[in-house]
């Protein structure tokens, strides 16, 4: 199977054309033939006078695609060498194991003498003393992503117990069991980065209700040889405010992930492998299908899946990252848990899958596909959005997520016993702007797509991500049947009057990404502080706010992430000023969220209740290329907040 840079299937002949063009291009550069006339003679310059250099390598010399560097000309860029799909087993990341002690021992105040970099003292170390200690070391790993590609040097996490992987080991954490992770930077010097990645890191635990000093703030980075102790209390929101002393059970989290968040370099460092899962269990979501909500047992039938799209150099086969891209990066190879298009042998029963879009910029819409019966719809169950169990399971045939979003789904393989089926991404995306808008949508992005393009590709023509080989042997299944309509958590009430309603316009001026016309600024990085100086806004601790996210960038889609507290979407409104044409929320979106997609020309109204902790947190676009180019801002939680309406 051959793919172009957008992950679309192309013929072998077409792929060869693309590879030849790439070769020509390299030879031209090597020969110093880069003038317009030379390129024109070689047929490498398009009619519009533009060479498709930014996104890669042009095949237009042979195929004669019309137009200039152009959205309408899709699929004319080759990148990665061909790989054979479904020859390698899915790898499930090992469970992270704790250590008996840390040396030197953790101290409540940052141990700067020993090389610790932390923004401040632990806020709740005495209240939630850690029962488990982890020693995570970030270092290089040599990995095989496909048997047809050379060994790749990536960055991963090592739990100091022999589990050194990328994605990193999976935490299986429990509410009521506070823990502490020492994150050590043992990365090699920058001269060995292989083309991208800054060996300066800060590990964010995405969606955790964590104190600021343990959040992994983008500005709290540390260098080679340094470390940061991060206290994870594993406590429900509301423990010191609305629902003392244990917090609100309806704020329970389950599928979190950790990833590097180094300001300006997050996209490179996560692409290089610095990410992993953090699962949070409790008395209902137990990890044992014999108890609680009876969800499929971890780890046998509860499988975290980290999706990533990457590019490999056609010549060397080595992982490549386009550091000069300002819009968003798409890969043509699809990886699940670090392998390109693996297969997974499953039993004919129910499995829980935790799907995570690790980015950098691609959105996915997941379908279950039987290549021998393409017209058949294959429904499955959505049970959690961004790791938050829904009030009840929803039966769906597909779900769309963007970078950093998660969905937990249950697939029952019983009807497929003896068959081979696929998890398929059928969402069409051609650049960093986001998914192609649906057919008929009035949009500059897709003015060229009126001729039959749709945002959803036909079954079997998308990206086959993961192959399921369902054994024919019937097995027992102690997990709950979602069709029996089990009840999980209720949605927290959102009727409280907000203290203030603030507006955040996500914008782009001459290619510069901004929020309300302002750019990311860490301010004073040293001396370290849990408070941003200056902050964009000050939220009052234990208060309710409404935040309006507004899309000033026209056709772009932005996945917006806000740290610390989850939100609920109250409404989506087309247009930027007048509150008309409010779109009904999908059932899947009637949930708690930590990333909300901001669609083209849209406003989204969010409900927040900020509780428990003090300190700085960011709001940012999680298309990490936008994030790294300043589409981020810091805000503080303080005892006395401000009422800045447009921060």
């Amino acid at each position: 199977m051959y793919y172009n840079v957008y992950g679309e299937k192309v013929s072998r002949a077409r792929h060869n054309e693309m590879l030849n063009a790439a070769k020509n291009r390299r030879e031209l550069v090597a020969a110093g033939l880069t003038s317009r006339r030379d390129l024109w003679k070689m047929g490498l310059l398009t009619a519009g006078g533009m060479l498709v250099a930014k996104s890669g390598l042009s095949a237009q010399s042979n195929s004669g695609s019309p137009g200039s560097f152009n959205l309408c000309v899709v699929g004319n860029q080759a990148a990665s060498p061909p790989t054979t799909p479904f020859v390698e087993k899915l790898v499930v990341m090992p469970q992270a194991m704790p250590v008996a002690s840390l040396s030197p021992a953790h101290t409540k105040s940052p141990n700067t003498a020993a090389g610790e970099v932390r923004s401040g003292d632990d806020q709740a170390f005495d209240q939630f003393p850690p029962q488990l200690l982890y020693n995570f070391v970030q270092h290089t790993l040599n990995v095989i992503m496909s048997p047809q590609l050379p060994m790749q040097t990536v960055w991963g996490f090592d739990d100091s117990n022999g589990n050194a992987t990328s994605p990193g080991p999976t935490y299986a954490a429990h509410y009521g069991v506070p823990q502490l992770t020492r994150n050590n930077n043992a990365l090699p010097p920058a001269s060995q980065n292989g083309g991208f990645g800054l060996p300066s890191t800060t590990t964010h635990l995405h969606n955790a209700h964590n104190p600021s000093e343990s959040d992994g703030n983008p500005c709290d980075f540390y260098e080679i040889g340094q470390f940061c102790d991060q206290h994870y209390p594993n406590v429900l929101a509301g423990f010191s405010s609305t629902n003392p002393p244990n917090g609100d059970i309806n704020e329970a989290l389950s599928t979190l992930w950790y990833h590097d968040h180094r300001v300006d370099f997050t996209s490179q460092n996560t692409y290089k492998g610095l990410l992993g899962f953090y699962l949070l269990f409790n008395q209902f979501d137990t990890g044992d299908e014999g108890t609680g909500f009876h969800l499929p047992s971890y780890p046998q039938f509860d499988i975290p899946l980290a999706f990533a799209d990457k590019v490999f150099d056609p010549k060397s086969g080595l992982l490549f990252f386009d550091t000069f891209n300002l819009d968003g990066i798409l890969g043509d190879k699809f990886l699940v848990n670090g392998k390109i298009q693996p297969f997974f042998e499953v039993q004919p029963r129910r499995y829980r899958f935790r799907l995570l879009d690790t980015g950098p910029s691609r959105f996915y819409q997941y379908f279950v596909t039987d290549l021998n019966n393409l017209s058949q719809q294959n429904p499955y169950w959505l049970i959690a959005n961004d790791g938050n169990l829904l009030p009840n399971p929803l039966q769906i045939t597909s779900v769309r997520i963007g970078p950093a979003e998660r969905v937990d789904i249950i697939i029952d393989f019983k009807p497929f016993a003896g068959k081979t089926i696929y998890l398929e991404n059928r969402l069409r995306q051609i650049n960093g702007m986001g998914p192609v808008p649906p057919a008929g949508f009035v949009s500059g992005q897709i003015e060229c797509s009126g001729n039959g393009f749709s945002d959803i590709l036909p079954a079997g023509q998308g990206n086959l991500l993961l192959q399921f080989r369902v054994s024919g042997t019937s097995v027992s299944d102690g997990s709950v049947d979602p069709a029996t309509h089990p009840t999980f958590y209720s949605l927290p009430d959102t009727t409280a009057t907000p203290r203030v309603t603030r507006t955040f316009k996500f914008d782009r001026l001459n290619g510069q990404w901004s929020i309300n016309g302002q750019f990311m600024n860490c301010g004073a990085i040293t001396p370290r502080s849990i408070f941003a100086n200056p902050p964009r806004l000050q939220v009052q601790q234990n208060s309710v706010e409404h935040w309006i996210l507004s899309n000033g960038t026209g056709d772009w889609t932005h996945p917006i992430h806000i740290h610390l507290e989850e939100h609920q979407i109250l409404s989506r409104t087309a247009g930027l000023s007048v509150a008309t044409n409010t779109a009904p929320l999908s059932a899947a979106e009637r949930s708690r969220k930590d990333v909300s997609q901001l669609h083209p020309n849209e406003r989204v109204l969010l409900f927040f209740r900020f509780r428990d902790w003090l300190g700085k947190y960011p709001i940012h676009c999680h298309n990490v290329v936008h994030e790294d180019h300043a589409m981020m801002g810091l805000w503080n939680i303080v005892p006395q907040g401000d009422t800045v309406l447009v921060p």
Binding site: A30, G32, T34, S35, R36, R37, G49, M50, A53, K54, S68, F69, V91, T140, L141, N142, V143, I144, P147, P150, M151, T153, V154, A164, T165, S166, A190, S191, Q192, N193, G194, G195, F196, L198, I224, D264, D313, S316, L318, D322, T323, F324, N325, L326, D327, G338, K339, M433, G444, Q445, L509, N510, G511, Q512, F519, N521, C522, G523, H629, A630
Partner: protein, 207 residues
């Protein structure tokens, strides 16, 4: 150059294909040849060796003389731009002051005109004097086709082809990087000068 590159890539290709695990459990020293190949790949992809001239009419090859082995800032502008350029240029003047004598020694600043037909070295000289620019900051012009090629290579483009043709809408980001260490990032040219100077400091490294 071509021969040495082939040799290096050949060595990289000989990396053994051992191991089918998610990741090996041992720490490894990354191959130096892989990094050399990566550096060459970045050169090929982003830095065409076009000829440019600065405000003193001095000739520069873009890769060999401007970027190679250096810590640089690179942005695009034109002298008659009355959109975002004046603010960005004034901002970069502040950045130059903040970096002090590191500019011209550790860091080299480069502003490349998008209207080379208007911006001769003489015009650029006048422009630089108007902003009281100090040494270590080149204002560069060249053949229009070369400049366009460079702009495309460096990713200072707009994905909307109509906007991409409007010079007033040109990308206002400032790329900063360390060529030897393959560290490249960018920040908005209209951002806080103090923070831009701090960001550039992140790639001034000896490792």
């Amino acid at each position: 150059m071509d021969t040495s590159r082939r040799t290096l890539l050949g060595m990289a290709a000989m990396t053994p294909l051992a191991g089918t695990l998610l990741a090996s459990k041992t720490r490894t020293t990354p191959a130096v040849d892989a990094s050399a190949a990566a550096r060459e790949r970045i050169h090929e992809r982003y830095f065409p060796d076009i000829i440019l001239r600065n405000q003193d009419n001095k000739k520069f090859r873009f890769y060999e003389d401007v970027v190679k082995d250096r810590i640089v800032t690179i942005n695009f502008f034109f002298s008659k731009c009355d959109g975002v350029c004046p603010r960005i240029t004034a901002n970069l003047v502040k950045v130059q002051k903040l970096l002090g004598d590191r500019v011209g020694r550790d860091v080299f600043m480069n502003s490349i005109t998008l209207k080379p037909e208007e911006d001769s070295p003489k015009v650029l000289k006048h422009f630089a004097e108007m902003y009281h620019v100090r040494p270590g900051w080149n204002f560069l012009t060249g053949k229009p086709a070369d400049i366009e090629l460079l702009r495309q290579h460096m990713g200072f483009t707009n994905p909307d082809p109509r906007l991409d043709k409007e010079t007033e809408q040109h990308i206002g980001n400032v790329r900063y990087g360390n060529e030897r260490l393959m560290l490249w990032a960018a920040c908005p040219g209209m951002g806080d000068a103090k923070y831009i100077a701090e960001s550039i400091g992140w790639v001034i490294r000896n490792d």
